[in-house]
C-alpha cells in the first residue's frame, strides 16, 4: 500500500469522527458585473481583463461590441477629445409609435443625442476629426440626425483642414424615418465628394457590423479602409442574399478578411494595434508646411 492511500484513508476517518459542521450554505456569492462570457468561445472572462485587453477576448481574440465612448478612450490621446455638434433633436415626421420615447430613453442611457458622436481629437499627437457610431443606439442606424452629424463632421474637418477618421457600426438606414433616412446616403456622399476634391484624408474604420445604407454611402467612400477582424461588412445580410439568389455563399462571405482578400478593405487590423496604425497613417499624411 502506498503512503498516499494510507493518508487518504485517515482523512476519510477523520472526517467521520469530526462533529461535522452543517453542510455549508454558500455564503459567498459571485458579485454581478465581475465576469462575462465570451460569446464566441464561451470562456468566462473577468470584465477588467476584457477592458484591459482592448475589449477583445484574451483567449480567442473575438472583438466585442464597444460603446462609442469606450472606443474614443481607446483611440485618442488622454483628454484630447472635444465633442462637437452635440444637441440635435430627433423629430418623428412619420409619426411612428413610441419612436421619440425610445430615442429619449436611449439618449438618457448613453449620454449621446443619437447613434453618432464626433469631435476634435489627437492620436499620438496627430490632430484629426474623429467620428464614432454607437451600435448600442438603435443598432447605430442612420436617421436624419446621424446623417446630418456625419455631414457636419466632414464640414468641420474641411473648415479645420484636418484629416477625418470615422468608425462605422450600423444596421443601415433607420426604418423609423423612411425615405428621410435614405436621403442621408446622398447627403453624406456629396459632402465626402467635396472633401475629397480638396485633397483631404478620410480613413474609414469598419467595425462589426457595418451594413445597409451606411455601407452603401459614407462607410465605403474612405481613402483608406481599415476593418476589425471578423467584422460583418455588407449591404444586405448573408441570409437575405442566399435566399434571393438561391445559391450557397462562400464561407466568410461579407467578413472583413474576405473583403480584404477581394480588395474592398485595405487592411484588417487587430483592435489592440488600431491606435498605432491610425497614428502612423496620420503621420505619413501630415501636410508639410
Amino acid at each position: 500500500m502506498r503512503i498516499v492511500d494510507k493518508l487518504n484513508e485517515r482523512r476519510v476517518l477523520r472526517k467521520r469522527y469530526r462533529t461535522s459542521r452543517k453542510r455549508f450554505e454558500s455564503s459567498v456569492e459571485i458579485p454581478d458585473g465581475l465576469y462575462d462570457k465570451c460569446n464566441s468561445c464561451g470562456e468566462l472572462l473577468l470584465v477588467d481583463d476584457i477592458v484591459e485587453n482592448s475589449f477583445t477576448c484574451p483567449s480567442c481574440d473575438n472583438h466585442f461590441r464597444m460603446r462609442a465612448v469606450d472606443r474614443i478612450k481607446l483611440i485618442v490621446d488622454k483628454g484630447s477629445f472635444r465633442e462637437k455638434g452635440f444637441g440635435y433633436i430627433t423629430l418623428n415626421p412619420l409619426e411612428v409609435e413610441n419612436y421619440e420615447e425610445r430615442i429619449n430613453q436611449l439618449s438618457e442611457q448613453t449620454g449621446l443625442d443619437d447613434a453618432f458622436i464626433y469631435g476634435h481629437a489627437s492620436i499620438d499627437g496627430n490632430p484629426c476629426v474623429l467620428g464614432v457610431m454607437d451600435s448600442y443606439f438603435l443598432m447605430g442606424s442612420m436617421g436624419s440626425v446621424v446623417g446630418e452629424k456625419v455631414t457636419k463632421a466632414f464640414e468641420y474637418a474641411m473648415y479645420k483642414r484636418l484629416p477625418i477618421i470615422i468608425f462605422t457600426a450600423s444596421g443601415g438606414a433607420r426604418m423609423q424615418e423612411g425615405i428621410l433616412s435614405l436621403m442621408q446616403m446622398v447627403k453624406t456622399s456629396q459632402v465626402i465628394a467635396k472633401f475629397s476634391e480638396r485633397g483631404q484624408l478620410y480613413i474609414s474604420v469598419l467595425t462589426h457590423p457595418t451594413t445597409g445604407g451606411v455601407t452603401a454611402s459614407f462607410a465605403m467612400l474612405g481613402d483608406i479602409h481599415i476593418a476589425e477582424p471578423n467584422a460583418l461588412i455588407g449591404f444586405a445580410g448573408p441570409r437575405v442574399v442566399e435566399q434571393t439568389i438561391k445559391q450557397k455563399l462562400p464561407e466568410e462571405f461579407q467578413r472583413a478578411e474576405f473583403l480584404e482578400n477581394h480588395g474592398f478593405v485595405d487592411k484588417v487590423v487587430h483592435r489592440r494595434d488600431l491606435r498605432d496604425t491610425l497614428a502612423k497613417i496620420l503621420r505619413l499624411h501630415k501636410r508639410s508646411g
Binding site: N8, R11, V28, I30, P31, L46, D48
Partner: protein
C-alpha cells in the same frame, strides 16, 4: 474563520494546512492534475483540482481558485509564497468576492511591488535606501554629477534590466563614461529601452531581513532578523536567525526602521523588510508582502508560529504580544533542500523518492511535502524540503545541522544536501563573516564535498 483555502502546493501548503488543523479550522487544498498524489491534497479536508500541470492553468488561475473557494464555502484564502501571493489583482478579487485574503490589502501589495514606488515611499518614511539618482539619468554628463553625489563605486543599471544585463559597476570617475555607454548600449540592444539609473554599489553586502507582524489596528512589531546572505543567483540556500555578527544596538536600529517602514505604508499581516548591510550601514532594498520560505528560523528563536499569527491577524484579532515581549532564544539555521544537481549547474530534476529517512530529536524540524514513493513533478519549483535546527548557540546549531545532514537519506533524485553540507562546514560560515559573494567565490570548493 472556519474554512481556509490554501492556494499553493508543496511544503508551504502542507505547513499552512497543519497550522489550520491545529487551530480547528477546516482546509481546502487546490491542486493541478500533476499534483494528484501530492501530500497537501491528502492532508486537507477538501481538495479541488483547478487545472492542468502548467502553473498558469492551475496555481495562477485566479478564476478557478476563486470558483473552488466559492463552491467549497471557504471564507479565506491563504496564498503561501510565490504563485499569487503578491498579486494585487488577486487580492482585490478576493475582496470583491467577500473572501478574506490572508495578507496585506491590494493597494499595499501594489505599492510595495513597484520598486521605484517602494523606494519613494521609504525615502518619505525616513528609512535609508541605497543612495542613487532620483529617476532616470539622461546623459553621461548628468550621470557623472549624480555619481559624484552618490559616491563611488556606483552601479549603473537599466530600468528595464534583469539578469545582469544592462548593468555595470564603475569604481571611479575615469571608468564611468565607458561603463555608462556600455550598459546603455547593452540595455538598448537587449530591452529596446536605454533609460538608465545610478545607485551606490554596495560591495559584498550581507542580506539581512526583518520579519514584521502588523495587525489591523496599526500595531506593528518585528521578530528580529534573518541572515540570508548565502545565496546563489539571488536564490537563498542557507538562512539563519539571528545574524551572527549584528550588535544589539544595530538590531534595534534596523528593527525600528523596519517597523517604521511597515507603519508608513499601513501594512497589515506578516511581511519582510529586506536590507543590505555593509559594515554598520544598512539600506532598504525591498519588502516582501507575504510569508517567506525561511520563516521557520524566526519561529524557532521566538517561539511564535507566524502562520497562526497570520490567520489571527486576518480574522481581525489584535496582536497578542508587544515588542518588549518578543524574546530571542538561541540560534536557528535552515537549509533548503532542492531536487537539483549542483554538478550540472544546479539543473532541477524530477523523479521518484525511492528512499527517505528523516532524522529527529530535540531542536530539529523538517518541513517538507515529500514522502517515500512520491514522484516529484517537473513543472514547479525544485525545493522539496527545509531542514531546520535550533540550539542554544550558533556553534551548537551548526553542529546539529551537520549531524542531521549526515543522517538524512533522500534517494531517487539528485539534491543539493552535499552542497549545503559544504557550506555549513566552511570556515567562513563558522566565523559568520560571509556575505552575498560567498557562494560565487567558493563555488568550486563547495561542489567538491561529499557527505
Amino acid at each position: 474563520m472556519q474554512k481556509i483555502l490554501v492556494a499553493n502546493r508543496g511544503e508551504i501548503a502542507v505547513r499552512i494546512i497543519r497550522a489550520c488543523m491545529q487551530e480547528g479550522i477546516e482546509t481546502v487544498a487546490v491542486y493541478s492534475t500533476a499534483d494528484k498524489d501530492a501530500l497537501h491534497v491528502q492532508l486537507a479536508d477538501d481538495a479541488v483540482c483547478i487545472g492542468g500541470p502548467n502553473s498558469t492553468d492551475s496555481y495562477l488561475n485566479m478564476k478557478n481558485i476563486l470558483t473552488a473557494a466559492v463552491s467549497t464555502g471557504a471564507d479565506a484564502i491563504h496564498p503561501g509564497f510565490g504563485f499569487l501571493s503578491e498579486n494585487a489583482k488577486f487580492a482585490r478579487l478576493c475582496e470583491e468576492f467577500g473572501i478574506v485574503f490572508i495578507g496585506p490589502n491590494a493597494d499595499v501589495i501594489d505599492k510595495m511591488g513597484n520598486k521605484s514606488k517602494a523606494r519613494e515611499m521609504m525615502v518619505k518614511a525616513k528609512v535609508p535606501v541605497v543612495p542613487g539618482s532620483d529617476g532616470a539619468v539622461e546623459s553621461v554628463y548628468a550621470g557623472i554629477i549624480v555619481a559624484k553625489e552618490v559616491g563611488y563605486p556606483v552601479l549603473i543599471k537599466a530600468s528595464a534590466g534583469g539578469g545582469g544585463r544592462g548593468m555595470r559597476v564603475a569604481e571611479s570617475e575615469d571608468e564611468f563614461k565607458k561603463a555608462f555607454e556600455m550598459a546603455q548600449l547593452e540595455a538598448k540592444n537587449a530591452f529596446g529601452d536605454d533609460t538608465m539609473y545610478i545607485e551606490r554599489f554596495v560591495k559584498d553586502p550581507k542580506h539581512i531581513e526583518f520579519q514584521i507582524l502588523a495587525d489591523k489596528y496599526g500595531n506593528v512589531i518585528h521578530l528580529g532578523e534573518r541572515d540570508c546572505s548565502v545565496q546563489r543567483r539571488n536564490q537563498k540556500v542557507v538562512e539563519e536567525a539571528p545574524c551572527g555578527i549584528i550588535s544589539k544596538d544595530l538590531r534595534d536600529k534596523m528593527g525600528e526602521a523596519a517597523v517604521n517602514a511597515a507603519k508608513f505604508v499601513g501594512y497589515e499581516n506578516a511581511g519582510t523588510i529586506e536590507f543590505l548591510l555593509s559594515g554598520e550601514e544598512f539600506f532598504f532594498i525591498e519588502m516582501n508582502t507575504r510569508i517567506q520560505v525561511e520563516h521557520p528560523v524566526t519561529e524557532m528563536i521566538t517561539g511564535i508560529d507566524i502562520v497562526k499569527e497570520q490567520i489571527k491577524i486576518a480574522s481581525g484579532k489584535k496582536l497578542s504580544i508587544s515588542q518588549e515581549e518578543v524574546k530571542f532564544n538561541g540560534h536557528s539555521i535552515e537549509c533548503r533542500i532542492n531536487a537539483e544537481n549542483p554538478k550540472l549547474n544546479f539543473r532541477p530534476n524530477a523523479g521518484e523518492i525511492k528512499l527517505l529517512h528523516i532524522p529527529g530529536g530535540f531542536g530539529l524540524r523538517f518541513d517538507s511535502a515529500i514522502y517515500q514513493g512520491y514522484k516529484i513533478p517537473p513543472f514547479y519549483d525544485s525545493m522539496i524540503g527545509k531542514l531546520i535546527v535550533h540550539a542554544e548557540t550558533r556553534e551548537a546549531a551548526i553542529k546539529k545541522m551537520r549531524v542531521a545532514i549526515e543522517e538524512i537519506i533522500i534517494e531517487g533524485v539528485e539534491h543539493n544536501l552535499a552542497f549545503c553540507y559544504a557550506i555549513i562546514n566552511s570556515d567562513e560560515f563558522a566565523k559568520g563573516v560571509f556575505n552575498t559573494g560567498f557562494i560565487p567565490k567558493h563555488i568550486d570548493r563547495l561542489l567538491e564535498t561529499k557527505i
